[in-house]
């Protein structure tokens, strides 16, 4: 046997040893078994509650005919428009307000803390009861809002939930009202993390008020603001409660978004695959958002 043959014969054994070393790390004997035993529950949970639902969902919505049926449905078409409007207005108006309000709540004083406590109440109360209350308040005949209008000004208020645009507007306003406090708190925390020496130095250089905000605060908050906006967009894409409990998707199915349409198709029409397809049709938007979000979270530059 020449030297080359000896090496060839020994190579698989070397490979096996290298693989075992790679898998075992520095663990030996029983230690390795324990490591595996501890790992198994986590892997099982991950497979059961993350991988399986995703694969099952993709499988359920995998038939091309479902999408043909979906795209031909006029309710789906209006739902896509509603979803885009809901995202564009709901996320951006809310985040912009949160940005402004976080600056307001940076003021000092005990009364500011009390005001902040009151301000976060809409976020703290359970959302379903809140949205049902809003639905009732907006009722055209006996709702609180129109009764107040009539008692105070003898005005017959509009039927807020009877028209597509006013109903969708009500949904968007309800969402903004409910979630602005949460994002305000996040941005407030971001502002508080800006080192004092930076803002003090900026003040010495004359960057106060709007100039300070434009040149110092906002650039430092920009990454956080963007991440919050992306997260909020992803959350809102799957939102069900606001639309379902405020407008119910009505009138005449005109205010559905993809989340509520999916539930309608799956359960009201007993076509679960069509329901999954409605939600899956948002994936072309969700996947790029998640990729951008991941990239932003990995940003190594000095950002808040």
């Amino acid at each position: 046997m020449d030297t080359a043959s000896v090496v060839a014969v020994g190579r698989p054994a070397i490979r096996r040893r290298a693989l075992a070393r790679y898998l075992h790390g520095n663990l030996k004997g029983g230690e390795y078994t324990w490591a595996v035993a501890f790992l198994v529950p986590y892997v099982a949970v991950f497979l059961t509650f993350v991988v399986y639902p995703i694969v099952y969902g993709v499988w359920m919505g995998s038939e091309a005919s479902l999408y043909r049926e979906l795209f031909a449905d006029p309710i789906y078409q209006s739902s896509v428009v509603n979803t885009v409007l809901y995202l564009a207005l709901g996320v951006n108006v809310k985040m912009f307000l949160a940005l402004l309000l976080s600056g307001f709540f940076m003021r000092r004083g005990r009364w500011m803390k009390v005001l902040l406590l009151i301000f976060i109440l809409p976020w703290a109360v359970p959302q379903i009861s809140t949205f049902i209350s809003i639905h009732w308040m907006l009722n055209g005949e006996w709702g609180f809002l129109n009764n107040v209008l009539y008692k105070l000004f003898h005005i017959e208020g509009p039927h807020w939930l009877n028209d597509r645009w006013s109903a969708l507007g009500s949904v968007i306003v309800s969402h903004i009202w409910k979630w602005t406090p949460f994002w305000t708190l996040i941005l407030l925390a971001g502002r508080m993390a800006i080192p004092l020496e930076i803002s003090d130095t900026a003040k010495v250089d004359g960057a106060t008020g709007v100039r300070g905000f434009v040149h110092i605060t906002f650039p430092l908050l920009a990454n956080l603001y963007l991440i919050c906006t992306l997260l909020s967009t992803i959350f809102l894409l799957g939102d069900f409660n606001t639309v379902y409990f405020v407008s119910g998707g009505g009138p005449a199915n005109s205010t559905h978004v993809l989340g509520t349409l999916g539930i309608r198709n799956a359960f009201d029409m007993a076509q679960p695959r069509l329901g999954v397809a409605a939600v899956m049709s948002a994936l072309p938007l969700v996947i790029p958002l998640v990729i951008v979000l991941m990239r932003k979270l990995r940003t190594a530059e000095v950002q808040l």
């Binding site: 005949e141 039927h159 009877n162 119910g248 009505g250 009138p251 007993a270 679960p272």
Partner: protein, 460 residues
Amino acid sequence: MAHLTRRSMLRGSLALAAAKTVAFPHVAKAAATTASVWFPQGFVQDEDIALRKAVADYEKQSGNKIELSITPFAPERQKIVAALTSGVVPDVMASNPTEILQIYAWQDRWVEVADVVETQRAQLSETALVSAEAYNNVTKKRATYGVPIRASIVPCHIWKSLVEKAGMKIEDIPKTWDAYFDFFKKVQDNLRKQGERKVYGLGFQVTANGVDPYQLFMPFLVAYGGKDIVTKDGKLHLDDPKVKQAAIKAVAYLGGAYRDGYVPPSAINWNDADDNNAFHAKLMVMDVDGTLSTEVAIKEKHPEWYFNEIVTHGIPGYPNDNAGKPVPAFVYITTGLIPKGAKNVTVGKEFLKYFIQPKVLGEFIELGLGRWLPVMPALAKSPFWQNPKDPHLKGYATQGLVGPTLPDHYVYNLAMAEVRNQHVWSTAMIDVAKDGAKPDAAVDKAFKRIEEIFAKYKMA
């Protein structure tokens, strides 16, 4: 740690598994005699109490165990769809909504229960028997997949007190279709003259939510001559001029009443419970709504309303059509279903056989205050239904069990269930009510959609 080896771990696991089977033998035993049953929650608590009693009586008599799950109406429907999608099913479930029988029979998802129905066939109404059948697209045959449990029709609920406040009498209500409903427009006009700002004559569910709008539309379609839109052979007849005229008239009347201000504006976005709540709040003089839920919901809290202020129909049953002929009532049958994949079909069938005995079924319905009707005409003769002191029950039972009835069209063709769930008729009504569309144009649009839906369900 050094003592633990892969072999010792495997040995330990096997020992634990073996010990479990010895320590808990009843688990295996229970599977043989236990059946899971799903039922929707009642509108009043008495319905659930009645169900629990029937189940407890069965358990006592048979020695079997029933795991009963009572879930609110809408979530139960979701639970059923989710179960049938995932394959993790109970042994028995009530059809909620009723057309779930036809929807999943098409996919061959039910166990045949003709043997269960056979035990009471002579007792059951013809409509109940037909409604328990469905077309199976795998076997290409119709078969009995449901066991009729209870029935409902869609009565008219009227505030007698509001009619009288308007200076009119219940006895003055006309007995032909259009005149009957026009009467309540006059009631509204009179009430408005008295300064009542927010009372409407008609509680029509001109909405695209829930089951109510379809169940409102269909009696109107039949009253105007459109009964044969789908015939018993499952064929669609949109080309029949009588059907088209009936659809146009129904859309025009229902949409027009809303457009003209005789229906609460919020009706356009009502859910199934909203009309009940609006009626109880006296927002409208009358409501057309399935079952006696409107009445029984307030019986305990407001007995004076139940006995003195609210009447069902105001006349014996539906008004006649405009030509003076009786209008049959649609009867919706709740059935007991056994899904394929159920673990204990034997106990499931045994439970259903017990449950549909006239004595058991009669007591179940009556303990539930009579919101639902029995599926056996003989049961309507009981003192409960014939009680002369009750202003609602006798008329309700007579209309649903003695008078002319018919099953819904989806019993003959599943496509009609999709027409119902896609709210095709609602869209037509709303087109007229809110968007000012001409009734014939709204009906043309609806017919086009119905044809598309029927094209998906081709029966052998």
